[in-house]
Symmetry: C2
Subunit: 438 residues, 2 copies
């Protein structure tokens, strides 16, 4: 039976998981592929460290170029993460004529345009199913299964850490800080949680989803990114009371004026399926003009789910090794020469959405009239108002408002004017709200 | 630009939807494929009937052989449905060296083994993404994206009509008959709703899902099939009271003893995501050993969602036209020579599940003791009991019981013994219950 040799860059959690899966699924893979897939070399930092996988038959090396330039190796798996040296090594592998499978969202979001251009020139494949939402096959769904659709928007819970924290805050009534500490204790969040809780990781993934959905270049720098550290447990409770859940969403949307790319906490009706995706799980909602709403749910991280996606990419590549370039699925779903910046990415001020507002105000007559007057002057209509009793130790009462859809520019102006009112005490919380009707 | 010609068998709802989508998405398709896909011929029953699509440029014929034997045509779309003449024409198209895309679940479930064998001999592709769950790309997800997994079980809401009826019964408190009438009025159910409400359509789809998940032949005749016509609105209400939803599920499961293939109403915890898939929507939950739980949600029927799946298959086939057979994805996910009946399909008596029981009994002392004694003798433990007040016009009170997991054989014996008790008045309702924990 024919054998395809692959090399690994990185043998940590995902690398070990991939070696284990290739071994435990070897029988199934042979039944599907009619070939054997064998890991022959792996580059690691420390040759003596214990590995969570069987490394017999795998030659370990500290020199990554022993992997990327090994003439026997057809496919290189980049599973080290981070920008460098991942970028340099992926480019070297491409230069050496290797196909590449990567789980590295940061790399693809930031350097993907350069990487795919190099791969295109060299006629090799670069696959990255594992880079977005771990085991959920969202890249293939958008690139291949929805290929007959004009995709209108994508909205995803693509960071399990942030989703876990929001779920804890709702279920346990925990503060953000307490929920984050829980996530760290359980191993769901890193010691420095910035990438997860401030939305940077989600923005990496959104960059990729938007590119393959709309046929635009990867534009990580254009993504509006807001994390969840400003969400209070009271916001989650008020949202629930009004029939909404708060999720940290990555949203890419096509409008007549351009493309919206934004990552932020979002209220959405609790009856929406995606509003019920809790804990560390991920889900992506995709709206195509023909298929309508579709959703893809699963584990967004972890050694085994990520390995599942890596192995699927390897199998696809093995089948396509001898397929001419024109008959392969294009890297970013659309043929390189047709990817265009014609549809501009809109600045955040130009997006349109609905809003949840929480305003701490003095409990005195006329306050509500002043606020609603400001909103009315700017053409902002209200869908719901909730005025709560003052809490014993507070000198202010919270007013909760849900608005209809309006341009962000108008809302910013309204918040500037409202903040100037004497009766407003403290920080105004503004959370965007989406219905996802169509 | 190169052009690929395709022919259609059938130009009804799905056929017209496909022609419309190929036309409205022509630009996107060219950007993805670098080729044009053109419908040149279509076979219809009535040449004069109005069509819901633009037929300019399409030669209509009443002779299907003008399509399946047209030397210009590379791909034949079978969109007529039903067993015959679909089977005969698909085999003729294969014989003529055409690749085939079909949306016909009945055809694949019943004659797929024969069809794929013929296609394998002739070296052509037969694709069927649209045959299961309409626009949801579940075939590709299982065949390709989860290829590194050993799939343990699949559970799906794959019939929108049945799901709509159950949702109506819950939301409106309607009887089965009234909800069915609603479905018919809204065009969701046919005049003869047997295929949908008795689970035959779901069994067709399950046959296909099981084959590509486990690498077994298509075995439609082995599927245990039970519809929803025996479900009362009171069952739905009691289930809700206990924290469960009732859904009509198609379940394929690998066990140590063999494979379970079953379609039946099922209680499941309401907190499960799939328990919240309502109305005509479909969803399929797939558990793979590496990826864990994944779920795929979307529209299971309708012209446009089905066309979305058909067009995805066409694009895949166009890319694979010149790919050697060994490098194509095998028809049933596993290479033909490895598909085996080694794992037997279990008879229904040998499956294991939990149960919901509704027993109409005389309101007298000792009844509960008699029933629980019978269950205990057979090793059946109870998770919950609910005894309701007698209704004014009834001479019996309902007892509701939830059991732990037990073999169906034991439950059948218990029900035989309980039915013999004098105190039991009328029909016992038994609905299976699954937790889908892992």
């Amino acid at each position: 039976m024919e054998e395809v040799k692959i090399g690994l860059l990185g043998l940590g959690t995902v690398g070990s998981g991939t070696v284990n899966l290739l071994s435990s699924s070897a029988g199934e893979i042979r039944r599907r592929l009619g070939r054997r897939v064998v890991v022959t070399r792996a580059c690691v930092k420390d040759l003596t460290r214990h590995r969570d996988c069987d490394i017999s038959g795998i030659e370990l090396t500290r020199d990554p170029y022993q992997v990327v330039r090994d003439p026997q190796i057809a496919i290189v798996l980049e599973l080290m993460g981070g920008y460098e040296p991942a970028r340099e090594l992926v480019l070297a592998a491409i230069e050496a004529g290797k196909h590449v499978v990567t789980a590295n969202k940061a790399l693809i979001a930031k350097y993907g345009n350069e990487i795919f251009e190099a791969a295109h020139r060299r006629g090799v494949m670069v696959s990255y199913e594992a880079a977005v939402a771990g085991g959920i096959p969202i890249i293939k769904a958008i690139r291949e299964s929805l290929a007959g659709n004009r995709i209108q928007w994508v909205a995803g819970i693509v960071n399990g850490t942030a989703n876990f924290i929001l779920t804890q805050m709702r279920d346990e009534g925990a503060s953000f800080e307490a929920a984050l500490a829980d996530a760290q204790r359980l191993g769901y969040a890193e010691a420095d949680p910035t990438f997860d809780v401030e939305g940077i990781d989600a923005a990496h993934k959104l960059t990729i989803l938007a590119s393959i959905s709309f046929g635009i270049p990867l534009q990580f720098d254009r993504v509006y990114t807001e994390g969840i550290s400003g969400i209070g447990r009271e916001d989650i409770a008020y949202a629930e009371e009004l029939g909404y859940s708060i999720k940290h969403l990555a949203i890419a949307q096509r409008t007549e004026d351009g493309i919206e790319l934004r990552v932020h906490p979002t209220l959405m009706p609790r009856r929406r399926l995606i509003a019920n995706v809790d804990g560390v799980m991920n889900a992506i909602l995709v709206y195509g003009d023909a298929v309508g709403h579709t959703m893809y749910f699963g584990a967004g991280a972890g050694a085994e789910p990520t390995a599942s996606a890596v192995v699927a990419d390897v199998l696809d590549q093995v089948r396509s090794l001898h397929v001419e370039v024109a008959n392969r699925v294009p890297d970013l779903a659309f043929r390189a020469e047709t990817i265009s910046e014609q549809e501009p990415v809109l600045p955040m001020e130009a997006i349109t959405t609905a809003y949840y507002l929480r305003l701490p105000v003095e409990d005195s007559p006329g306050v509500m009239a002043d606020i609603t007057r400001i909103l009315a002057d700017l053409g902002i209509s209200l869908e719901a108002i909730l005025q709560k009793e003052p809490e014993p130790d507070q000198d202010s009462v919270p007013i909760i408002m849900l608005t209809y859809r309006i341009q962000e520019r108008q809302m910013n102006e309204a918040l500037r004017r409202i903040a100037r009112l004497d009766a407003v005490r403290g920080k105004i919380t503004r959370i965007r709200l989406e219905h996802f009707d169509a």
